[in-house]
Amino acid sequence: MTEPTRPFPPGDYPVVVIGSGPGGLQISYSLRKHGIEHAVISEDPSPGGMFRRWPHFQRLLSWTKPYAAAPRGTRAYERYDWNSLLAEESEARALQPGLMDGTSYFPSRPEMEQNLGLFAERAGVAIRYGCEWTGTRRIDDADGGGFALETTDGEYRARVLVVAVGVAQPYTPPGVGMELTHHYAEVRPAETYAGHRVFMVGKQNSGFELANGLLPWARSIVLASPSPAKFSVQTNSLAGVRARYVQPYEDFVLGGGVAVLNAALDRIERTEGGDGTLTVTMRRTDNGDELAVEVDDVISATGFVTPILDLPDIGCSVSGRTRLPLLSSYWESTTLPGVYFAGTIGQAAKGLVKHGVPANSGAVHGARYNARVLARHIAEQRFGTPATRAPVAPGDLVSTIAGELAEAPELWHQRAYLARAFTVDADAGLVDDGVQPLTHFLDEDGPNAVAATLEADGTGAIFPVLYTRLGGEIRERAMVADPLLRYDGTDARREIRAILREAIPDVPAD
């Protein structure tokens, strides 16, 4: 019935993007800005991806500050707004804060879904909804080959695929009676757990989120996994359970009815004569002692895997329990060239993970910048569209870098992962090479250059690091950390200048 208005009928396209969550929306918008024609298909009926269903308790983990240190809609504001997608047009920028009701700086799930829908509308992202990807095969031809996608609407062919389907397929590890559990994705309305004894397999965010949401309902809650829970306020990074979900832990240490155990599951069985209850037997990882508890429900908060269908069968290496693909610095499969990944799957390109601090690629506020960098890369590498490399006067470099360190959201959100690079080109002189993956800068041989990043070392400090490339040799130069995070003042500029002059002598002495 709606067939005539649906965009992108099956056929040949330069690029096909799969997915209509934040990753699919951002990469489509950014490819369009580079003039790269493409189709976007999605099995969903509307934009939003996983935010159409989750988080369970209807409140996000990622914040948006309606009132921040920078005016709404500016580039600097993006540092304080983790949820809006990126656009050049003012009517499509910073959409999330305008949709929040003021009760929390974590948007509700419906507010996030609305934000993404409004972005698709205002930014003009066209998507063929209700079109499910069902299979893939490689095409080998004289034009460099490509891929054929089977879908419920017919076959698409493209030179380049961008897969943005999220890490969204519920995963329950096999064995030990896990079939008696129900997954995070199958959790019932909270009130149906009223008076229940609940056992949670897993002590990461999803386990603690459910435990937190069930505190007013469950009679008792046990959270168990082999290693101790990590908390973001202890790791000083997003690695670990977020502050919002720590309440069950406080309940545990104060003896309120929650237990947080370090134990390996041995078996889950129906309790003999137990009227449908389950007995969970486990072994403590610290001293090997056996423990058993009788409960009404066992929930597996054991995460999600990547629904990339048959891509592994045609050559895309995947790794580990999450089946994340093995990716290059530019989010391309290292074993199936021409297949790129956007959105939360981009976390598979981990970067340096310096001091154990991960990038934020698994979240919207990291993935949105990765997508913009990826679009530029695809345009340049696959379609011969030269990237703009604006000349920079050597005398302006110190203030340009200081300005970036003060407010560039790409560097603030993707620490030690994305960097702003400036290169001394043999013909053009000093040029702005834009934002790029730091590992690309480090691994690429090239002329003298500098890349500016912000980094964290797990102590809570956030500080700039400049990487200089001089005669092909990389040097890492960390700047002094300022507890107030001001990196464009006189002292910072003096430090930046001294470092820059090592690699780029044209930078004036003062």
Partner: protein
């Protein structure tokens, strides 16, 4: 190529490593939760000489080349570990480590190594043994 190792296979794999030889099954299971699992592509630089903040790596599968200032120092394989020198001494990485074929590792972030080793003295002892063997080999080769 499809590469999947589930939890039990991973525990089996690391139970044969000298570093973890003294650990019980639940302790091995804890190890695979405490460490992150990472995969590196053939040719990928895993550790960059001169850079701070790297981790402690144990090779589960694959091979790596260790080079300092362009000179080959060692080739590492399944069961070997690297990255500990920079962490224990608090210095930047002393060598480049590059995967010479697709490599799967367990990784522990540098800031967690001290608490991990002191909580697992048997692992620390095995690491000391391995380091002592390396020292003896270096002495014999006269370097």
């Amino acid at each position: 190529m499809r590469v999947m190792i589930d939890r039990d296979e991973l525990i089996d794999a690391i139970s044969g490593f000298g570093l973890f030889a003294d650990l019980s099954a639940p302790q091995l299971e804890a190890i695979i939760h405490i460490f992150d699992e990472r995969m590196f592509a053939e040719g990928e630089t895993v550790v960059h000489q001169g850079l701070s903040g790297s981790g402690f790596f144990v090779i589960v599968d694959g091979e790596a080349l260790v080079e300092a200032d362009g000179r080959e120092l060692a080739r590492l394989q399944r069961g070997d570990f690297f990255g500990e020198v920079a962490i224990l001494l608090g210095v930047p990485a002393i060598a480049d480590v590059t995967a010479t074929r697709q490599m799967r590792c367990l990784v522990l972030p540098g800031p967690q190594v001290e608490s991990f080793l002191t909580s697992q003295p048997k692992v620390m002892y095995r690491m000391l043994q391995a380091q002592t063997r390396r020292l003896r080999a270096a002495n014999r080769s006269g370097t």
